[in-house]
Symmetry: C2
Subunit: 270 residues, 2 copies
């Protein structure tokens, strides 16, 4: 029984309000690695037994969780369905898609579309070179902004105070030898990115994986996003990435403009 107690609670305070608590519990189950027993969740969520039990019942009732015969809790199908609707109905993704395709045709490598959410990048679409292994995996995946091309590109669009607020809250985990380890080095690179209009991932998140990315600004909207072309280091040199950077910037700009028109035609004010 020397297993680490997995500490208690997650970093942030358990959500406020009834809904917040329910979502915190849901997330605890969904983000866990496998089916979770009542006691596991109890330890991780920090909720009192009675409360937790009721929350779980409600989540099951709503189809957000499923309780198996052996009493373990698992994510329910309703999440998938909700996500399907919100993905397929996403106008921004729709606008961007043809541009992703043409970037893919130009480069032959994998192209990603990501949106910044706080301090993370959420991948929203992807055009793959040739179905490598996993199929559509990765859509919906959230990665830290500071070690991904799209992430750094998107950060570069933020006003300095906002950027600093976000950076202050980051925990710099060293995924590879090339990952940023401090706010200073990250901020320094972001200054360069602002100047150049594009960002690189030099094997910072995953070893042997590189990318070029450009930020997308949609005027009239406060969404911050980016696209990237990604490839394995053995096949894609830094020179190659630099050669592609212009096309990536152009595509990003085009997406931004088109989205501004088609997303909020009736609103443009600051």
């Amino acid at each position: 029984m020397s297993e680490e107690p997995t500490v208690i609670a997650d970093g942030e305070a358990a959500g406020t309000g009834t809904l917040g608590k329910a979502m915190a519990v849901l997330e605890a189950v969904v983000m866990a690695d496998g089916p979770q027993r009542f006691t596991d969740i109890l330890a991780r969520s920090g909720q009192p037994r009675g409360t937790l039990h009721r929350l779980l019942s409600h989540l099951v009732e709503e189809g957000l969780l499923v309780q198996r015969r052996d009493l373990c809790y698992e994510p329910g199908l309703r999440l998938l369905t909700l996500a399907y609707r919100s993905w397929s109905g996403n106008r921004f993704r729709d606008v961007a898609e043809p541009h992703l395709r043409s970037l893919h045709e130009l480069t032959g490598e994998t192209v990603h579309l990501g949106i910044l959410r706080e301090t993370e990048i959420v991948y929203v679409d992807k055009v793959e070179s040739r179905q490598t292994v996993r199929m559509s995996s990765q859509i919906g995946k959230a990665s830290p902004a500071y070690c991904t091309g799209i992430g750094k590109a998107a950060l570069s669009l933020l006003p300095q105070p906002e950027l600093e607020r976000l950076v202050a809250g980051m925990a710099f985990h060293a995924f590879t030898p090339h990952t940023h380890r401090s706010a200073e080095s990250l901020l320094a690179e972001i200054a360069e990115i602002r100047r150049d209009g594009h960002a690189f991932d030099r094997e910072e998140h995953e070893i042997e994986i590189r990318c070029v990315a450009a930020p997308i600004r949609v005027s009239g909207s406060d969404l911050t996003a980016g696209i990237s072309v990604t490839g394995p280091a053995y096949r894609v040199s830094m020179e190659q990435l630099i050669a592609w950077s212009g096309a990536v910037r152009t595509a990003a700009a085009a997406i931004g403009e088109e989205a501004a028109i088609r997303l909020g035609p009736g609103r443009g004010g600051p």
Copy 2:
């Protein structure tokens, strides 16, 4: 102002409890076709103004919804992230995947994996012949069980009383001229499916689209699922589907057995 009032509320009673109400509102926004104004949601949800406003605030706070500058509400990214985790961590899908692949190699057509949820089939995985148009779309999509091959196959596994309860609650929408229009004809076909061990979709959901499907039963679990091979009518004859039916049944059986072993090794109750 002769616009139809979009009636009020959805078919089912607004969810019970605070979480239920919140989810009903969330669903109202997600299932809608585009960004929703406050008043739209007000009409559809049937909640009082004050209550609805607070619910929406909480949903936004939780990242489940986003409020744009023009005050419209849209699905937030958190749904995608939650769904990504629950999809990629789904053991059943994982077990099934290699079997989907080999079925695809055998047939050259699109292969689906779906799980029955009440009266709908939710598509959980897919191996596509050759990236037709939409990429991974469709994962998470929910379709009526009575007009899809996997749906009818899955229904055939249910005990008769359960089946009849579900069928009683179905509204038979005629998607095509071949769609079942009554409980009787559906139940009759399900009897055949039980006998044969496989089901066909004879252009019942979408015109020009056919499939063969087989049900998956996982002993020790109460999940009911199925797989199918789908193709366009001009390329895939009924004779062809019949020829594939054996392989589909075999794959389904293999998935069911493997899943029973790998899903709940410590439980085998009645």
